[in-house]
């Protein structure tokens, strides 16, 4: 069942609508990621759920009970919702132990033990407990913030871009560690992020947000492979969008005849391919001349080496007849290929597509 429900939640600041009617269901014990660029309203949404702010319209329910609507709210300190902020928001005047124990009753029996257990749970060494926040690295500070938020055994955890201040390597490992800790504790979690890889790998449910509204909500796989529109497709990864005509489960486009995931018929449509669906094979100009119909060749127009993965731009050589499609065919396809097998500039390659194309709205 749904643990958290948002029903047409609105919040405006002056004449600007930060949230324009949000609906969301979060299942008990699940992980939801809200992904969008800065300023799209995702932090506002989190503040409303945490109880730091009140919606102008709509209702927020937790466990089936109203916790906020236009006329009232359950204050933050009674919500049993933990929050981990972007910079951790540790109390600078308290030690790490005091920070972790901030939410635990001062006279609670076994308080010290609880604090050191929490530190252990999030992977912190016991000896840092007497230090102060400024003596810790960014990753350690985030762990402390998580331990502090977990001390109250919250029913729900809100993570507000908690990994964005960390460097790339640490980010992935922290993400994994946090997901594990919350999973083991069975805490329903909402993560807010602008990093699509983070959202896709962390969550069971992803919501793509733009200008105060959800563009699409679904499982990571569904959103990545079958996004509703180009915006959602591009906000979750590199996308190749082509014009095509659709009939009988096939799409005709500049990359030839591709299988699509629908049987409907459309004269003009836009189809989505992810770059990793496109493979390149070395070829020569004689191959191009002797090409069978349907074989697609391209010339590498640009290549950029970046360690393990290189970015390759290819221009299609044999465009289908339609001038409209030809124009699209002339814009190079940007692909990421393992450096060991990526072709050099000027090389001729044969292009093949694996998997199905997805039709966009």
């Amino acid at each position: 069942m749904s643990f958290l429900e948002l029903r047409s939640v609105e919040r405006r600041y002056g004449r600007v609508a930060a949230l324009g009617g949000i609906d969301l269901d979060v299942k008990t014990g699940s992980r939801t990621a809200i992904v969008g660029p800065s300023g799209c309203g995702k932090t506002t949404l989190l503040r409303l759920v945490a109880g730091f702010d009140v919606p102008d319209a709509g209702t927020i329910l937790m466990d089936g009970k109203v916790i906020a609507n236009a006329s009232g709210t359950v204050p933050a300190h009674r919500r049993e919702i933990g929050v981990v902020a972007q910079d951790g928001a540790l109390f600078p005047h308290l030690t790490i132990a005091e920070n972790i124990g901030f939410g635990i009753d001062r006279n609670a029996p076994g308080r010290e033990k609880m604090i050191s257990d929490l530190a252990y749970t999030v992977g912190l060494d016991g000896h840092i407990l007497l230090r102060r926040p400024h003596q810790l690295s960014g990753g350690q500070q985030q762990r402390v913030a998580l331990a502090r938020a977990m001390a109250r055994k919250p029913k729900m955890m809100l993570l507000d871009e908690p990994f964005s201040a960390l460097d790339t390597g640490l980010r992935a490992s922290m993400r994994k560690a946090v997901a594990e800790v919350l999973e083991n504790a069975g805490i329903t979690t909402i993560l807010v992020t602008h990093d699509q890889a983070e959202a896709l790998s962390f969550a069971d449910q992803v919501a793509v947000m733009r200008e105060g509204r959800f563009a699409q909500v679904g499982t990571p796989r569904e959103l990545y492979l079958k996004p509703k529109n180009r915006m959602v497709a591009e906000s979750l990864g590199d996308a190749i969008v082509l014009s095509a005509t659709i009939a009988d489960g096939w799409a005709e486009c500049s990359l030839g005849r591709l299988s699509v995931d629908t049987t409907e018929r459309r004269d003009i449509a836009r189809i989505l391919l992810r770059p990793e669906q496109i493979s390149l094979r070395s070829a020569s100009s004689t191959d191009v001349a002797a090409a069978k119909p349907g074989a697609i060749f391209a010339e590498v127009s640009d290549a950029e080496f970046a360690g393990a993965i290189s970015t390759v731009a290819v221009k299609l050589l044999n465009n289908p007849d339609s001038p409209e499609l030809a124009a699209i065919g002339n814009t190079p396809l940007i692909l990421k290929k393992p450096s060991v097998e990526s072709p050099a500039v000027g090389e001729i390659v044969q292009v093949a597509v694996s998997g199905k194309a997805h039709i966009l709205e």
């Binding site: 329910l61 109203v66 006329s71 709210t73 204050p75 928001a89 005047h93 001390a151």
Partner: protein, 537 residues
């Protein structure tokens, strides 16, 4: 009532949903809720009080009749005073600025020996009240009088007000900017004028304004050397004819002078904002080698220290020696000390409390209206003590006589006079306590009041203490308003000093001066230390 409203609301929704209990569900107004509302109301009330002298002057002008008022304003005497005041400002403020800039550069950027000691010696003159400076000079050079005496003593008494912000800004400058300028082909001299000086603009403008306003408000300093300014004239007028319209109209002209200064400063300052762009810790500054110039630079610092600290201490010491044991009337001095302390502590506390609403609003709920309100607060604080005192006296005499010359009125006047000092410190310290911490505390189950106490108040406390110290320091050395407003029988250290030196008993006044300096010194040290730590040293 709140619970009732919540109950009604819960009942309507109860048909659809199972609900949390009524006491969990609060009817909370938008934004910061009741805190914000009460803070706004309090800030409005306090701001109204601080600018009260302005409508007061207009009211007196209207009561006196415009023709009489105009004849009181446009007369030769006012012209003389205006020339004196303007000359004083035009000469003393630039001199102060140049001196403070040179001292700050030497103590912050150069390889001068004992830089930290010199830095402290540049701040220490704050502990010597301006009228004690004047007293020291006049007893050393009895013939001293007129404009130039006023300019010299003003510069010596007030340069630390400019030194402090300039030195603090220099300390925070990012040396990377200088490196960038050097790599773009600028000579050190041109770096100073094109990179460093522009970044000092805010400090220079703010400090110069502060000095200018102090010069307009200063009383004791100019009486000793028989130099007439608007403030001395208003007090004379007040003492001869009590609260006659003549004094009030002079006060009106003085207020106009203040407004002119404020608008000049606002114009010069512009909308410039300078801060470090990018993150990462700033490097330490590599000191500039003075080389052959070291003796010359040392001479400037030694001369400044001698004039600003040496002469007062020398004079006081001489009078103490001359006076011997007779001048130490411990009962009187002790009583004055006690009274001064009580007024300074109560006044400082009250001022800090009064500054809380405005400081809180300007950080936590910034907006156009708040900015305007804050501007009015600074405007009120820019008014000279004598104007505020005159307004408070007249208003209490005419409308609330039971408050006339009571503790309440003097504390009110102090609060109005020193509010900006507390406001500036408090604002900066509340900004050090981001609201996210309060939110974190709330999400960890603390009630709003508890969350506020455990985070914001706890973190803002050092800054609030600094603001209170600044206000208390001002009150301790305050003379004009204290004389006009204090309850009968009050004799603060400043009043005692003033009365004795007024009878030309300079020896008997010396112990008072010494005690004032001695109790101010620790506060100055505290503030100096705090400003150094805030800059990360």
């Amino acid at each position: 009532m709140l619970v009732g409203a919540a109950f009604r609301m819960t009942q309507t929704i109860a048909q659809e949903r199972d609900l949390v209990t009524a006491e969990d569900f609060l009817k909370i107004p938008r934004g910061h809720g009741w805190v914000s509302r009460w803070m706004t109301i309090a800030a409005f009330a306090i701001t109204f009080l601080t600018i009260l002298p302005l409508p007061f002057i207009a009211w007196i002008g209207w009561q006196t009749g415009w023709e009489t008022s105009i004849s009181l304003i446009f007369r030769p005497r006012v012209g003389e005073l205006l020339v004196n005041t303007v000359m004083l400002l035009v000469l003393a403020v630039p001199l102060c600025t140049v001196l403070a800039l040179a001292l700050a550069w030497l103590t912050e950027f150069s390889d001068l020996p004992f830089r930290r000691v010199w830095a402290w010696l540049c701040v220490a003159p704050l502990a010597v009240p301006a009228f004690v400076q004047s007293y020291a000079w006049i007893s050393l050079f009895p013939g001293l009088n007129g404009l130039w005496a006023g300019v010299i003593i003003s510069v010596i008494a007030y340069f630390p007000f400019l030194y402090l912000p300039i030195a603090a800004t220099l300390r925070r400058l990012d040396p990377a900017l200088e490196d960038a300028a050097a790599s773009l082909g600028l000579t050190p001299w041109r770096i100073f004028f094109r990179v460093i000086l522009p970044q000092l603009r805010l400090a220079l403008c703010g400090g110069a304004l502060l000095v200018g306003l102090h010069l307009l408000a200063e009383y004791g300093l100019y009486v000793f050397i028989r130099f007439d300014t608007f403030t001395t004239a208003i007090v004379d007028q007040y003492q001869s004819s009590f609260n006659g319209p003549a004094a009030t109209m002079l006060a009106g002209v003085l207020v106009v002078c203040c407004l002119v200064l404020l608008s000049i400063e606002a114009g010069v300052r512009g909308n410039a904002r300078y801060s470090r762009v990018g993150s990462g810790a700033a490097r330490q500054i590599e000191p500039v080698r003075l080389g052959k110039l070291t003796p010359l630079c040392l001479a400037l610092l030694i001369a400044t220290a001698l004039f600003s600290l040496g002469i007062p201490l020398l004079t006081i010491g001489r009078w103490l020696m001359a006076g011997g044991a007779d001048i130490w009337r411990f009962d009187e001095i002790g009583y004055a000390f006690y009274q001064t302390l009580v007024l300074a502590i109560l006044g400082g506390l009250l001022t800090t409390l009064a500054a809380i609403p405005m400081a809180w609003l300007s950080i936590r709920a910034p907006g156009g209206a708040q900015r305007a309100l804050e501007g009015l607060n600074y405007l009120g604080g820019a008014l000279p003590g004598v104007v505020i005192a005159l307004a408070v006296v007249t208003i209490t005499v005419r409308t609330a006589h039971m408050f006339y010359q009571t503790m309440a009125t003097i504390l009110l006047a102090y609060t109005l006079m020193f509010l900006p000092r507390a406001l500036v410190s408090l604002r900066a310290s509340i900004a050090q306590a981001p609201v996210e911490l309060e939110h974190a505390a709330a999400s960890l189950g603390r009630r709003p009041a508890n969350a506020l106490w455990a985070t914001t108040i706890r973190l803002a406390a050092p800054g609030a203490a600094a603001g209170m110290a600044l206000a208390s320091l001002g009150i301790m050395n305050e003379l004009t308003a204290t004389q006009m407003l204090a309850p009968n029988g009050t004799r603060t250290l400043a009043m005692g000093f003033w009365a004795l030196s007024g009878e030309l008993d300079y020896a008997a006044a010396a112990p008072y001066a010494l005690v004032m300096i001695l109790i101010s010194l620790p506060l100055i040290w505290l503030l100096h230390d705090q400003s150094q730590r805030m800059a990360g040293r």
